[in-house]
Symmetry: C2
Subunit: 346 residues, 2 copies
Amino acid sequence: MEVKNKYLVIKHHIEDAPRESNFELKTGTIALSVAPGSDDIIVKNLYISIDPYHINRMKFSSSSQGTISFAAPIHPGQTIDGAVIGKVVVSGNAKFQKDDLVLGVFTWAEYSLVKEGNIIKRLESSEFPLSYHLGVLGFNGLSAYAGFFELCKPLKDEKVFVSTACGAVGNLVGQYAKLLGCYVVGCAGSNKKVELLKQKLGFDEAFNYNEEKDLKSALKRYFPDGIDVYFDNVGGEMLEAAIANMRLFGRVAVCGVISEYTGAGRKASPSMLEIVYKRINIRGFLAADFLNVFEDFSAKTSDYLRTGKLKVIEDISSGVESIPSAFVGLFRGDNIGKKIINLAEE
Amino acid sequence: MEVKNKYLVIKHHIEDAPRESNFELKTGTIALSVAPGSDDIIVKNLYISIDPYHINRMKFSSSSQGTISFAAPIHPGQTIDGAVIGKVVVSGNAKFQKDDLVLGVFTWAEYSLVKEGNIIKRLESSEFPLSYHLGVLGFNGLSAYAGFFELCKPLKDEKVFVSTACGAVGNLVGQYAKLLGCYVVGCAGSNKKVELLKQKLGFDEAFNYNEEKDLKSALKRYFPDGIDVYFDNVGGEMLEAAIANMRLFGRVAVCGVISEYTGAGRKASPSMLEIVYKRINIRGFLAADFLNVFEDFSAKTSDYLRTGKLKVIEDISSGVESIPSAFVGLFRGDNIGKKIINLAEE
């Protein structure tokens, strides 16, 4: 039995801000059966995680020698892979059964033909919505947890600044920081987001960076005594302003660099003199380096979710067709919280 | 009894590259006696340490709110203090006797009137030349030792790059790295220095940055497989080039930022994207934060000196009159190794 399978490709490499027209929706077919003796698995995709880092894989530079993406390049016309949750519909592999729910690196498509190595884990629990395993209980959550706790070693009462604070990672960093007892300020790109940060997520303060002429002064206003920890998702001028407002022994975890992804903003030129005299530590990181704390992260975060101490903000669209606008929207700041595509009922 | 006391002041705040004309030599008098009941100490200065960081204390900005110097500002007309080794000539303090050799924060002068709090330590041993306690066995040595070992956590066979490699700190970092078994490349500003690094100090390679058009390519040539540790004394384009050539989990210890001290060079805009994907760690530091390892540092370094494993390069001028050209020369790269002023026979 064969079914139609809609999937997405890029038409060409993307060098600046992505546009919906960079993508093409294709329709193929996939057999819902595997050859005897094959260990293939066919997964029906339920939830697709939409993340900014994909843009770096779609650039021409990422396919050439000077690659600075940590994942394989995505080439025009080829399927695109990323974090997906799906349900096994056919399995030629004894370790997976029909109807198993699995999280893995699958294609941006309705169905994926996968190997055992593509599957990160089987999802056993139904305690939380499945989609949480792509965000708050997945790599976004781990990024927030490891970047904040492991890299920044924050203390109660320290002053914490988070950029893209309504994003999939930033909102969790701010909430973890509040749970630790820090003073937390977030910035975001709209007044609606600012309100959400203050009203729903419990940030002490938040501001709309689009309404600030001078980011250094803005941070001085919110941090008259300086910043201890800056969780950076943007780079550029915001990073410079944060360094200028940092206290002695301040720590910067660099999780993302939206300003450099699309070439839209200029690169940060933080004062190295301040970095020396204030003994600032700047560290880039990837969640994948912190799998050793996954169990800790997962247990604590699940507990915070159970007790309602951690709020979840998701932004879910439906259907493969919605991927291009969802992806492009990440760079316009359209999404509020974790951007996810729902493809089918569980 | 009173004696003449030559000392140095700045005529005005210094905002860019220092010139000899910024300084004024003054002659005062000092009584070689202390009032009964006073705990003053009179020190005859023997060796003065000349360090680039003083420029930051001499800036106007360092006297205003936006200070980014870690030490007190130096104002026009006032005496200038810094690391000095001297001999006690008169003591009203029971803890110090005439002829004691002391290291402390004294004035750029022939004699200093000091309090107990200005004295960092009494120098007991005569095993090494006294001047070593301002360089290889002093804060420069500690900067090299702590910045390299404590911050960068280097491993044998790792690839190490050092800028201003003929400077007071850089030359020691390179030698420590060689003693650990690393591959070490230094850069300096003249061919004479390059030869010294390779011939006398045992660097694997060295290059003259003035002869390189493209620093990124230069580093690629010396580090085809990338840099693990960069000990940065300059900032600017060299830092960008080092980041671009760094390997995964590379570490940058930022000890100084000559390019920013005088406003001569442009600030570094390292690629934050590379910092994330390569998980680079950049840390500013001051030797003073690592007094906890001073004993370790001192014991190991003394042993290396005794056994001839560590070479010492000093650049010594004579007399208070020579301070302006010695200081200005630091920013022209005149000095080879630790710059010291010798004021009197021991």
